[in-house]
């Protein structure tokens, strides 16, 4: 029975295992290729999430958005182009710098950064302050996920939205299989979905198709870093990765398509 599974415990077990492999230094190494991917893709998945709220007829020009773990701005940039104001929570200096540089290039002056982790942000100072609180691709940062979601609800006077990978690009699956990488059985999306439902938050669910475009160098770096989580990268791995990415690249760009699950709800 669904009620007999403690989804918070499942989450902690899954995140513990993931974080054992994905250390801070891993994410520091990933920052550059991730940033390249988001910006080269013109914030594709963020635009799809924006489209979702527009299609629902919910999005308002006057909105103030909080983007938790904004990275280089996949959510922040497209929303800042449409709404009054976006506050990005981003502790990594290089990510925040990439975000502000991108904003400047686009002539956006309605973005501000809180240079902290979400856990460090004093939510009491922002009670019911935002119209939409988004956390995309960053739930793995929270071992205590439900309290962190409750804090997101506390600072929202409108909606909360959690977005997470739903289906990996088939190209990613092929290369990881070729390299013998097994990322385990932990399904973050389904765990968060069940955790929310069990705790009385019944989110709407949208599945969006996205396309990521990145330079060949960025794609190679991303897969090399992934392999490096599991074993020392050797010459054979590098050759396989180079060959695979080059073979699938078009005019110097490597493009993959996947699906993202978007869980969103109106805060009571």
């Amino acid at each position: 029975m669904i009620a007999q599974i403690d989804w918070e415990t499942v989450w902690v077990a899954g995140i513990d295992e993931m974080n054992r492999l994905s250390t801070t230094s891993y994410w520091n190494r990933r920052a550059e290729d991730y940033s390249d991917m988001v910006l080269t893709s013109d914030c594709n998945h963020g635009r799809k999430i924006l489209d979702l709220f527009e299609m629902e007829g919910i999005l308002q020009k006057e909105w103030h958005i909080l983007d938790i773990a904004s990275g280089p701005g996949a959510i922040t940039i497209p929303f800042a182009e449409r709404v009054c104001r976006v506050t990005a929570v981003e502790p990594a200096e290089r990510m925040a710098a990439a975000l502000m540089s991108s904003a400047q290039n686009r002539g956006l002056s309605n973005i501000e950064v809180i240079p902290q982790t979400w856990q460090e942000v004093d939510d009491a100072a922002y009670v019911k302050n935002y119209d939409l609180v988004v956390c995309c691709h960053a739930l793995w940062q929270f071992a205590d996920i439900l309290p962190q979601i409750r804090r997101m609800e506390a600072v929202s006077k409108g909606y909360c939205c959690l977005a997470h990978g739903f289906e990996a690009p088939s190209e990613t699956l092929k290369i990881t299989e070729t390299l013998g990488i097994d990322e385990g059985e932990f399904d973050q999306f389904l765990t968060v979905f069940n955790l929310l439902n069990d705790s009385g938050v019944y989110p709407n669910v949208d599945v969006i198709d996205y396309t990521f475009t990145r330079s060949v160098a960025s794609a190679v770096a991303s897969v090399e870093n992934l392999v490096g989580k599991y074993r020392l990268l050797d010459a054979s791995d590098s050759a396989i990765i180079q060959e695979y990415v080059q073979h699938h690249a078009v005019e110097g760009f490597y493009q993959v398509s996947g699906r993202m699950g978007v869980l969103w709800w109106k805060v009571a």
Binding site: T9, S22, E183, F186, D187, F193, N197
Partner: protein, 290 residues
């Protein structure tokens, strides 16, 4: 990465079957088609509340996502008194109701006549007896509500619903939002016997996901209004499945209803999940980090 029993995939089919079997074990008798005829009047009153608010909300959610349109041909599995037949027929090309209970079929015709809709027909069978191969790709949408709990072989029946559509499938399942009245009444009548579960959602989402579908969800809230007599009729049928409905049991129900709503209408707030998917779209597994 080593397998961790906590994060290993759950066997949702087994969960579904266990839930079905647990319910069956406490049943005094099985549901019969005549039970649904007996329920026709109260069910109809509930679905008609606020000019078919429930069906209209489901239609709006699906139309916004282009799952249904004025050109659609729709099949409703277990239509009851016309849950979707009436609100959908006003907007789509045609709707077929699969409904075996004569009383329910009569109610569909009455409600349709009142609403002035004629673009529907009724297949007077239970869904399991419908030859889905004969209807292959005949519809743009197969939809059902408050029915799938009757299917122990859930994925087989889902597969048959998919077989008859060239477009989408939709299951509307109720979301338990703490109906304390129901829980208290069950305790008064049945004592410590655990109340039966009808866990359509979110279990159905997990089942579909586990089987490679890409389901999307809208949560809707709606109201159901019924007279005390119709509520009594509903509870009489419901409790007859689990115990003998003696005059004492009936009096317990009456008293509870009176305490809840006096002599006026019984108003209930409900929440449901509208779950839809395109059977042609399947997902690859995604594990680890996105």
């Amino acid at each position: 990465m080593t397998s961790n029993s906590l994060t290993a995939p759950v066997d949702w089919v087994k969960s579904w079957e266990e839930s079905y079997d647990t319910r069956s074990r406490i049943m005094h008798r099985d549901y019969e088609i005549d039970d649904w005829s007996e329920r026709a009047e109260d069910y109809s009153e509930s679905r008609r509340t606020n000019n078919y608010e429930f069906g209209e909300s489901v239609y709006s959610a699906l139309a916004l996502h282009r799952v249904v349109s004025p050109r659609s041909r729709v099949l409703e599995v277990g239509a009851g008194p016309g849950t979707f037949v009436i609100p959908f027929a006003r907007k789509v090309d045609h709707i077929t109701a699969v409904e075996p209970a004569e009383g329910m079929a009569r109610m569909i015709n009455l409600n349709a006549a009142e609403a002035g809709v004629k673009n529907y027909d009724i297949i007077p069978k239970i869904w399991q007896d419908v030859n889905s191969a004969d209807l292959r790709d005949r519809y743009d949408l197969t939809i059902t509500s408050t029915v799938i709990w009757m299917f122990r072989d859930i994925m087989a029946q889902i597969g048959r619903m998919e077989e008859v559509t060239r477009g989408h499938c939709c299951v509307v399942g109720s979301v338990g939002i703490g109906q304390t009245f129901e829980a208290e009444l069950w305790r008064k009548i049945m004592g410590n016997i655990p109340s039966p579960q009808y866990p359509e959602y979110p279990l159905i989402y997990n089942l579909l996901y586990m089987h490679g579908r890409v389901p999307q969800v809208r949560i809707i809230d709606y109201t159901s209004t019924r007279t005390p007599e119709n509520m009594l009729r509903m509870y009489r049928v419901f409790y007859s499945i689990y115990t003998e409905v003696t005059p004492e049991v009936e009096e317990t129900i009456r008293e509870a209803l009176y305490r809840d709503s006096g002599e006026g209408l019984c108003v209930r707030k409900y929440r449901s999940a509208v779950v839809w998917w395109d059977p042609a779209i399947r997902r690859n597994e995604l594990n680890g980090i996105a």
